[in-house]
């Protein structure tokens, strides 16, 4: 497989819910080893787009390719195989509530890895550490975790199979600013050190301005901008101006 091919390709995706058109021809590509964020007003279908990319919800028209596999046209076995090569973190973590954190992380390893049993526990520990959790957290039940820890545990599970692409749905929502910034650094580190491509959906201005390589702005069912954050900030569009003006107001006091 071509290493320089994009990790994610979205081509002319159209999504309709009844009469309501959410996406009206959305196209973009995400290169490997980059951190890309999708922003847009509420209701512009950011999360829906993410669900279409990972194969949870079928687009009305258009094509989605992840690591070269067409998620909606390829044979079932090929889609299943590619699903092992990416990880997804859901907004609320979506940890399995009947399993401990360590068991949650071990689920994908046991299901797909075929790994030697004696490596399982050390590998779970490594994943927890990569997500910034202590080994002690592994023994806890998801209901005993704070919001930030739940998100970290979810990342640890998403990282379990050494994914090439990681999808994050609002990774910093519901976290306090300090924890949120720590989470941003964590995601940046994952991109820099493990070389994964990360695509995240966010409302968090700080994430967008500090750690993201590329910004995709959705508006009116289309891609309004697809550029590094510095260039997007300079664009003259009412929504973009309004979005970033919050920051300008703050910095001007």
């Amino acid at each position: 497989m071509n290493a320089s091919a994009p990790a994610i390709e979205v081509e002319d995706v159209v999504t309709r819910f009844g009469e309501h058109r959410v996406h009206d021809g959305v196209s973009f590509a995400v290169r490997r080893g980059t951190l890309t964020a999708i922003i847009g007003a509420s209701g512009t279908g950011k999360t829906v787009l993410l669900r279409e990319i990972v194969g949870l919800q079928a687009p009305t028209a258009g094509r989605v390719r992840v690591l070269g596999t067409d998620m909606w046209a390829a044979p079932e076995a090929e889609v299943q195989a590619v699903k092992r090569r990416f990880g997804m973190m859901f907004q609320d973590g979506a940890l399995f509530s009947s399993l401990t954190v360590a068991e949650n992380v071990a689920v994908p390893l046991k299901e797909h890895g075929g790994l030697p049993a004696e490596l399982l526990a050390p590998l779970v520990q490594l994943r927890l550490a990569q997500a910034g959790l202590e080994a002690d957290a592994g023994a806890k039940m998801p209901s005993q975790l704070s919001g930030g820890m739940r998100k970290r545990a979810a990342i640890a599970r998403a990282l379990a199979l050494e994914p090439e692409v990681l999808f994050l749905d609002e990774p910093t929502s519901g976290l306090d600013p300090t924890t949120a910034r720590g989470f941003d650094r964590l995601v940046r580190d994952l991109v820099d050190q493990l070389g994964i491509a990360v695509l995240l959906v966010t409302h968090d201005l700080d994430t967008v301005l500090t750690v993201v390589d590329r910004l995709i702005v959705l508006a009116d069912g289309r891609v309004l901008a697809d550029a590094p954050p510095a260039e997007v900030v300079a664009l003259d569009h009412p929504w973009i101006r309004a979005y970033f003006s919050v920051r300008t107001m703050l910095s001007q006091g």
Partner: protein, 356 residues
């Protein structure tokens, strides 16, 4: 000297690991990574772990030819690795302490039920003083669910019970030529015991479980907290309509059960025992004293109260995760059925003493 070749990835570990463990990895061994095409963190961990297991401290290993991405991954993995690995399987609890814990938690549960009963009584007291507190719409929605929608299943089950009892009694009675006494047996048995118990069990599985699941899900999504912060009482808004609906619904369902059960007996009595419907009804009028019917119907509201209270309490106090809702729902059904049978036994003794 250990030479590493090719792509060391998680997917290759099942094949790599046995070979790695079979190697003699002496302390101070040299590891050459110059021919490595790829190294991911899982494979790096496997390498470090194998070295440690063999007694070769990675700090003292002579690492050669590692550069670029593999070197970074190796360093990063070594930095994050720890010997304090999490336990993947919880140790089984010793039997005796586990038993004690269960008994204590049972006592705790019963105390909680009693407290909830008290709170619900207080809510009903408040309702008597201010009848406008009653959520009429919610009450009718619950009656629709508990009573109207339950009639088909109650009718079907009690019809079959009536048929079965008449058939089995008939087999015995026929031997003594005492066919007609089947009417006595079915009439008294159905109205006094079978219909109330069977219907209560059905309702425990339908409505009791539904109460727990609904209220548990509402607690999960913080709807109950929202009700509280809006200055409303969850007891008035959620519990009272459900309890009241079930207490009204169960006697009526038991009556349906009485009628349909006897009807079922009548259906088999004609072809099997030669008792025509007219004879059946004639005999029933003489044999079935209304006392039996009242006893059966009188027990129903008490059963309903127990089922509704258990169902609501389990829902209102469920833990805040999805698994807890499922466990609480199961527990509601079991507790309700046990409560109904215990209450029925108590009633049997009580009515015996009262001579009814």
């Amino acid at each position: 000297m250990l030479h590493l070749h090719g792509a060391w990835r998680l997917a290759a570990l099942p094949a790599l690991w046995p070979r790695l463990r079979a190697l003699p990895l002496a302390p101070g061994i040299a590891v050459d990574g110059s021919a490595l095409a790829e190294l991911d963190s899982a494979a790096a961990l496997a390498l470090l772990w194998a070295l440690q297991q063999a007694g070769a401290d990675p700090e003292r290993v002579d690492w050669r030819g590692f550069d670029g991405a593999p070197a970074r991954v190796l360093l990063d993995t070594a930095r994050r690795q720890s010997h304090r690995v999490p336990q993947l399987a919880l140790p089984p609890r010793p039997a005796l302490p586990a038993l004690g814990k269960e008994v204590l938690s049972l006592g705790h549960l019963l105390r909680g039920h009693l407290a909830f009963f008290g709170q619900t009584c207080a809510a009903f007291g408040a309702l008597l003083l201010r009848p406008r507190l009653l959520r009429v719409k919610e009450l009718f929605a619950q009656i629709q669910h508990c009573l109207v929608e339950a009639i088909p299943v109650v009718a079907l089950v009690t019809l079959l019970i009536g048929v079965t009892i008449a058939y089995l009694l008939g087999l015995q009675a026929e031997k003594y030529g005492a066919n007609i006494f089947v009417v006595d047996g079915v009439g008294i048995g159905m109205t006094r015991e079978f219909a109330p118990i069977i219907v209560a069990v059905i309702v425990a599985g339908r409505s009791g479980a539904a109460f727990t699941a609904q209220l548990g899900a509402m607690r999960l999504t913080e709807e109950i907290d929202a009700i509280r912060t809006l200055g409303l009482s969850p007891a008035q808004v959620l519990v009272v309509p459900r309890v009241l609906a079930l207490v009204l619904a169960l006697p009526l369902l038991v009556f349906v059960g009485d009628v349909v059960g006897i009807l079922g007996a009548m259906l088999v009595a004609d072809p099997m025992l030669g008792i025509t419907p007219a004879t059946f009804l004639e005999r029933l009028r003489g044999a079935l004293s209304l006392d039996h019917v009242w006893v059966g119907l009188g027990k129903a509201p008490v059963f309903a109260l127990a089922i509704a209270l258990i169902g609501c309490r389990m829902g209102m106090t469920v833990g805040r995760d999805t698994r807890a809702v499922g466990l609480a729902t199961t527990s509601t059904v079991v507790q309700s059925i046990v409560a109904v049978i215990l209450l029925d036994a108590a009633f049997a003794v009580l009515f015996q003493h009262l001579g009814i």
